[in-house]
Amino acid sequence: MANILVCDDDKQIVEAIDIYLTGEGFHVIKAYDGSEALKLLDSNQVDLLILDVMMPGLDGIRTTLKVRETSSIPIIILSAKSEDTDKILGLNIGADDYITKPFNPLELMARVKSQLRRYTQLGNLNQQGVGQIYKCGGLQINDDNKEVLVDGDPIRLTPIEYNILLLLVKNAGKVFSIDEIYEQIWNEEAIGADNTVAVHIRHIREKIEINPREPRYLKVVWGVGYKIEKQ
């Protein structure tokens, strides 16, 4: 099973994560500051790194930078800093995910698995375009058999939800308003569009996102529309 390095200066948190990950069948290596984590990285085969930001000595950000000099393993930052700027900074310097404390253990497990899947299984498939396959990060839609995979796991969607998602993925990065989506999917003019589209979108989000409140793929542009983040 995969080796996961958990690094946090709070021993109890490390312990708790250890319990959860071990429960999921992972092998956990524990570190309590950045420099220790770096040493362990050198001496062990590590598949994923969970890293706290605020640590004595070498902090999470600098540790991430160091790791990225030599390795491309998935890094999940686990921090009490919940500001947008903190998240943007963390993701920009090379982290693959950013989870704020206090975290939901199940969400953490899901994200860990997601990152590992992408790193170990999906990485090689990226360039193979077989049939009508649309990809966006860990999201993969096969239009031939109407199959939707999130980090390799199949997702069950209703036909309307599928069409909406397909429209958005096909035009990744483009923002569609409720009316546009309605017109495209239902093929009729949107007269006094109601909450239908918004409700569908929420359903899709709940199905494809690990944390629907902080979506990775299907983003809401408030007051404008919806889009799939281009990745």
């Binding site: 206090p102 409720i178 909450n195 589209v197 408030w222």
Partner: protein
């Protein structure tokens, strides 16, 4: 006792001063009343009369009179007696109209013309009215007193009767003076004048004019002063201080008729045995000399005395006893200096007025009319001096007490003028200045124009033209001054407007201002600086607060993570005990609440301190509500809440930060979700009012709302006082802060159980 002693000293000094003053006045009286007044002081050097210039003047006039007498004797005398019947003048008014006048007739005629002879043989001329008739000149046939006239010019042979009459009388009085005073009367002066009367070329008589019958000149010469002069010599034998050198001229000119000067001798008995002009003059002279010297001494003593007593009074004035630290002020010293001067002027005027009506009359009673002028003047000066003295000492005491300047109207006036120019309201000061300006201008213009035409001299006109030019220049300067002030005023207004509109760092350049405006400008700059610093201080403290809350929340989150995780781990142990299951439920619930609280706390503090970076973009408010409805529709249905929305079909664009606005709406929807009565409807509507778009959410509260709407937006206030439900109590506060940050309007209306929130934003045009 000391005080008394000082008072005595003061009294003494005042007495001395007044006494000295009296002496000065007395001396002035003496000197003015002296017969020698106006002759300077050199005469005093001659101790006795015979040495004095006075004497020699008298002597010279007498000697000249004697020579005149010798010349005129024949004209007015018959056999050694004055002959009034003697013919003295013959004139012709025309052919065959010759009149001859006797001496008596001439005297009568003289009275007719107003020429009156006095006892001392001077002629008093009475001013007569002009008779109107132009008197014709008459031909002079003969003058007894000038038998051989030498006519050098035409017309000299004619004369007017009036002039001739005066001439006759003048000559007669010259003669009579010597005749009656020296020859008929007793005189201390003895003289002898010997002339030769040439009958023809070879023979002559000797004529002697004298007032001594049997002259023994050696004896007479020893009686006193003498002078002797003989023709053909230039030497005057005399013992006089000032030799009568004029004798030489007199002798040379004495060639009347056929006579020629031979010998002249004069002597004066300096014992003055006879009462004549010399005796009188001598006694007056010594008396006057004595009094003049006394007067001088009085004057000297008086001046010195008054000066020293004055200086002493100056020194001790205002002090009591030896204590020099305190100045005793009389009630009158409490007045301002100008008031004091004015008061004394009034007192002086009253005194002068009284002096004119009372003092003058009294003085007139005791003094002679000739000296009235002087004594009146003296009285006025005395009044002026005494009043001035009192005034001076009053001012002096003030000066010593150092209140002279401080209590003066001048100081107050200058202070007021200064105050006026620095603090007077602009409009009033402008009005006053303008009135003054116009008044002066009109006055000056009128005066100048009047003078320009009145004075015809080119020089004056040029002068006034120049003055007029200068005045115009001054006016222009005034105009410029006013304009400059107005400009400065405008700049100040501009600065105030800038600061009022929020540009608190706005500064004016002080160099562009002067006077009152400069002070104002300086104050404005300070307002700006102070506001700026206060604001920065506030921002700093808010940021500090927000940072503090953020840091605290970070520190809270770490232990909270452990709590949540370990609670979860315990739950996974699948403990069967019902009680422990219940406890775990509470732990999980509360730890989740703690999590929300810490997150909301940071957000609330940031939103209320404005420490949020907004990403403003164009947002369709209607679309946003649709999206939000979509997010919440199913959640609401879990509590059986029915969402009823009335939304316009067309998009309404506003400028806002979409994510933050979503946060506002999310909080409001969540609020409705938490507190709305189950099985009720939640109403959502958007309406556009002019430039504003208003979003309203209404629901019926499950619990009675017994708090005010304003309290609801305060932090940590929740509709249910028991606080058992989930939520941090920060939701509405955050929503309000975020709305206001985005320039929106947030309003909570509570009407019974109806809970209504309205969020308004300006519509983008």
């Amino acid at each position: 006792m000391k005080a008394d002693f000082t008072q005595i000293k003061k009294f003494l000094a005042v007495s001395i001063h007044l006494f000295s003053l009296a002496m000065v006045i007395a001396s002035i009286c003496i000197l003015y009343a002296n017969a020698n007044f106006g002759r300077g002081l050199t005469w005093i050097q001659s101790e006795t009369y015979v040495q004095s210039e006075l004497f020699y003047n008298q002597l010279q006039s007498d000697i000249r009179a004697i020579f005149d007498y010798a010349r005129l004797q024949d004209a007015f005398e018959t056999d050694g007696e004055v002959d009034l019947e003697k013919e003295v003048l013959s004139v012709s008014q025309g052919p065959n109209a010759t009149t001859t006048y006797t001496l008596q007739e001439m005297i009568k005629l003289g009275e007719h013309y107003g020429y009156l002879m006095q006892n001392d043989w001077s002629i008093d001329v009475l001013p007569l009215e002009n008779t109107g008739a132009q008197e014709n000149a008459v031909l002079i046939n003969y003058k007894a007193y000038d038998p051989d006239p030498v006519l050098t010019e035409p017309g000299q042979a004619y004369g007017k009767m009036k002039d001739l009459c005066y001439e006759v009388l003048t000559n007669f009085t010259r003669y009579a003076y010597v005749y009656y005073n020296m020859i008929e009367g007793d005189s201390n002066l003895s003289f002898e004048l010997i002339c030769n009367n040439h009958n023809d070329m070879l023979s002559y008589d000797t004529i002697t004019y004298t007032n001594v019958s049997a002259p023994s000149w050696d004896k007479l010469k020893h009686m006193g002063l003498y002078a002797e002069f003989t023709a053909d010599t230039t030497y005057i034998d005399t013992n006089m201080l000032h030799p009568p050198t004029y004798l030489l001229d007199l002798a040379e000119n004495t060639a009347f008729y056929e006579q020629s000067f031979q010998h002249f001798v004069i002597s004066i008995d300096t014992n003055f045995p006879y009462n004549d002009v010399y005796t009188q003059e001598s006694s007056t002279y010594s008396l006057m000399r004595k009094w003049t010297i006394r007067g001088m001494m009085f004057m000297g003593f008086g001046l010195v005395g008054s000066l020293f007593s004055f200086l002493y009074l100056m020194l001790i004035s205002g002090y009591r006893g030896r204590d020099r630290s305190q100045i005793i002020l009389s009630p009158i010293d409490r007045l301002s200096p100008e008031g004091c001067i004015l008061l004394f002027l009034i007192i002086g005027s009253v005194c002068v007025f009284a002096g004119r009506f009372v003092g003058f009359r009294l003085l007139h009673l005791v003094t002679s009319a000739s000296s009235w002028y002087y004594v009146e003047k003296l009285l006025l000066y005395l009044i002026a001096y005494l009043v001035g003295l009192l005034c001076f000492f009053s001012l002096l005491r003030r000066y010593k007490a150092r209140i002279l300047w401080n209590s003066s109207w001048l100081k107050r006036g200058s202070a007021e003028v200064k105050e006026y120019f620095t603090h007077e309201a602009s409009s009033r000061s402008c009005a006053y200045c303008y009135i003054l300006f116009v008044g002066l201008n009109i006055t000056f213009a009128c005066t100048t124009v009047y003078l320009f035409f009145y004075l015809e001299s080119t020089v004056y006109q040029l002068f006034f033209a120049l003055v007029l030019l200068a005045w115009i220049a001054l006016d222009l300067a005034c105009f410029r001054f006013t304009v400059v002030k107005a400009l400065q005023e405008d700049k100040i207004n501009q600065a105030i407007a800038n600061i009022a509109s929020g540009d608190i760092s706005y500064c004016v350049n002080l160099d562009e201002f002067s006077g009152k405006q400069k002070i104002t400008a300086d104050h404005i700059n300070h307002i700006g600086e102070n506001l700026d610093s206060a604001l920065q201080e506030k921002v700093k403290s808010e940021r500090f607060k927000a940072d503090l809350i953020t840091n605290v929340s970070h520190d809270l989150k770490t232990p909270l993570t452990s709590i949540i995780n370990y609670v979860d781990l315990i739950k996974r142990e699948h403990i069967q005990d019902e009680k422990i299951q219940g406890y775990l439920e509470v732990l999980e619930q509360k730890s989740q609440r703690l999590k929300t609280l810490t997150e909301d706390l940071v957000e609330a503090s940031k939103a209320s301190s404005g420490n949020v970076k907004l990403e403003i973009s164009d947002i369709d408010f209607v679309e946003l509500i649709h999206q939000t409805n979509g997010e919440f529709e199913e959640k609401f249905s879990t509590r059986s809440l029915h969402l009823v929305s009335y939304l316009p079909e067309h998009p309404i664009l506003i400028e806002a930060d979409g994510r933050r606005l979503w946060r506002v709406l999310e909080n409001l929807y969540n609020n409705a979700f938490k507190y709305a009565m189950p099985n009720s409807r939640v109403y959502i509507d958007i309406c556009q009012e002019n430039d504003w778009v208003a979003f309203t959410i209404k629901n019926i509260s499950e619990h009675p709302l017994n708090i005010s709407s304003s309290e609801l937006t305060e932090r940590f206030v929740r509709g249910d006082v028991s606080r058992t439900t989930e939520g941090s109590g920060l939701g509405l506060s955050i929503a309000q802060s975020l709305t206001q940050l985005q320039k929106g309007n947030f309003q909570i209306i509570i009407d019974g159980d109806l809970f209504k929130v309205q969020v308004k934003f300006p519509v983008k045009k």
